[in-house]
Symmetry: C2
Subunit: 401 residues, 2 copies
């Protein structure tokens, strides 16, 4: 049983957690259900896109050379060869001295190399006065200008956005290969923890962390399974953990905020598998455990919800991204100016809850056990291990919730 | 049939769209399924939280006054009255000269007003040496310090985050009242548009916009229904729109990029109901229609996917938020420095696709019909109507996708 008895730096802890994450398998699903899923393979264009010269305006397809010098007072005069209908193809080519009407999105006929907007043209019977010179290529998209056949349209590892779903539609991916949703097991521990339906007796608290962990994993595209609230005893925890590790792709065990409880959590993980990290130079979130049971990564989270949440963001997030095969940078950041000093000790990373409004970053100094600060905060200000805090007026980066 | 024949400013268009949005009804669901749903009512604390004086450290509960002047060399000597177990309650009160061991999260006994961390105390039999003075209230959370009974924990209109789900668990909301998911109908139009399964013939394109619209609405918590690809003819569009408006909470009609098609879209909406806006001072996205059929808001989106996407973000987003009762600011923004000039015309809002990397904002100048720029971009730079663009080096705000 490898076990670091001293705290490790945050980046080492994250590397350890990510190192345990083997991407889950894949499945094929309809494109209409793929929003937010992680693409498993590079998808390439099946053909040139749009596949034909396409007008980007309502206008007249012309040979640009025949509009040189054209102006309102001295327009070029061209014969109207025909009108292109949407979706029907041009069906003819332009000869010298000819032009053709093309609606936005319509095909520019062969022989033409530019389109002049209707606003700069005047139709007189079957002749058209062009009042402005056109540059070669103007107002048209070339057949392979959006994507060339074989070009990668969306890369494996992207958590698909609406825009990417649109691009996949354009290249004919009626079905897509995505990673299946990782299954995350959640266990709450603590003799003081009662189910949410229960009115807590004196010195009891409701089970917050299992809801926090499940919603966090669900937002990252995981399925979750709850293995209940287990007492701070080795037997029940061992049983729940063994079952969860066998059935899930990762397990989050929360609770155990006192030293005795934490030690029991680490001992149980160690007995069933291996503890790799026990303690991170992270505030809040120091008493975090990273280990594995069989091939399944297990993270032991602090009992305080606000601390647990920091560990979810900093450690569990990258682990779940690894399991999901998700290479999208999901972290939302913003920059702003601090309106209060934020002290910190060197040698540990501090995550301070902050509000952000109109470019002003305001720290919320609050006891780590409190939920209210977590609900009020807009994000976290990270103070790196090498810094003794930030000062009023410093421009800082905030990781938004 | 009211109808503005000239373009309206973006903010007026957004106000018009939002004005059409009546929030959908509510439903009661288990808290475990509420992540990302919109809370329908203010939820208040059912009791004080945590409900008892709670230690935030492993330590000794003391009367602070009895530790005044304590130091390592001259510690205060207190008698150990007992040890508090997690979840069991203290069951005793401290008298003068007494202290009690309390684990993190455990109850601080009556009579005590502070907790000294174990690191600053030494246990000798049934006596404890306290090596540091404690301030009143130190290392403990008061019974109503997180939330007082009756205090609002999460406000109506919040799209629930994991943290908020956690807070709702803490106050016993095993079930929550949320808005039901709005149902959004999607119609694609265009003679050139073929289903995604089809290899497009010359001058045809696959149906991108219905996938874009459905994924966009799904990401905002809506259910979507697709009413098919209809030809640019009044009959089929009228039939599809009538059905969609009757069955859905909002309808998105895409396509009609040429002037004739747009006019037909507006005419059909006008015949079935009312066109309120036809044309927005927005680039790309000018040929947008906002109207209603019966009570149902209808948005007519441009045919170019990149233009349609801007209209989704700028106009449809606020409309769907209104329908969802969602008062959460979902827009993700970041700031950065422009590395290239962005010209723009006064009097219209320009949305320029940009990449953002290491604080540098780089515009992607691209034809509006192209998908590749939409996939490559990280977000949109908005150039307000009153500005003639931005210059290299300007600090700008980017709306991230």
């Amino acid at each position: 049983m490898a076990r670091f008895l001293t705290v490790v730096p945050v980046d080492e802890a994250v590397r350890t957690a990510v190192g345990l994450a083997r991407p889950v398998g894949t499945e094929t699903i309809p494109l209409g259900e793929a929003d937010g899923r992680v693409l498993a393979v590079d998808v390439r264009a099946d053909a040139d896109l749009p596949g034909f010269a396409r007008s980007t305006v309502d206008g007249y397809a012309v040979r640009a050379a025949e509009t040189v010098g054209a102006s309102e007072t001295l327009p070029s005069l061209l014969r109207l060869k025909g009108r292109v209908a949407m979706g029907a193809g041009a069906g003819f080519a332009l000869g010298p001295g000819e032009c053709a009407y093309v609606p936005t999105g319509g095909e520019v006929p062969r022989g033409a190399d530019a389109v002049v907007m209707v606003e700069y043209a005047e139709l007189l019977g079957d002749e058209v006065l062009i009042g402005r010179p056109a540059a070669v290529g103007e107002n048209q998209v070339l057949p392979d200008e959006d994507f060339a056949a074989g070009e990668v349209v969306v890369r494996a590892g992207r958590r698909l956005s609406p825009q990417e779903i649109g691009a996949l539609a354009a290249v004919g991916q009626a079905e897509v290969d995505v990673r299946r949703r990782p299954v995350v097991g959640v266990i709450s521990t603590g003799n003081e923890v009662v189910p949410v339906e229960t009115a807590p007796g004196r010195s009891e608290v409701r089970d917050v962390n299992s809801y926090l962990c499940r919603a966090f994993a669900a937002e990252r595209g995981c399925e979750t399974r709850f293995y209940g609230i287990v007492r701070d005893e080795a037997g029940p925890l061992r049983e729940a953990l063994e079952r969860a590790a066998a059935e899930c792709d990762a397990v989050l065990v929360s609770g155990g905020s006192s030293k005795d409880d934490r030690d029991m959590g680490a001992r149980t993980i160690g007995e069933l598998g291996e503890v790799l990290v026990h303690g991170i130079a992270l505030v809040p979130g120091k008493p975090t455990i990273i280990g594995q049971v069989g091939p399944t990564p297990v993270i032991g989270l602090p009992g305080h919800p606000a601390s647990a949440f920091v560990v979810l963001l900093v450690v569990a997030g990258p682990l779940l991204a690894g399991l999901s095969g998700d290479k999208t940078d999901r972290v939302r950041r913003t920059r702003g100016r601090l309106v209060e000093n934020v002290p910190s000790a060197r040698g540990r990373e501090d995550y301070v809850r902050v509000t952000v409004s109109a470019g002003e970053v305001r720290p919320i100094f609050s006891k780590s056990g409190l939920l209210n600060s977590l609900v009020r905060a807009d994000g976290l200000l990270r103070v790196p291990a090498g810094r003794e805090g930030y000062e009023t007026g410093d421009e800082v980066e905030v990781v938004l919730f």
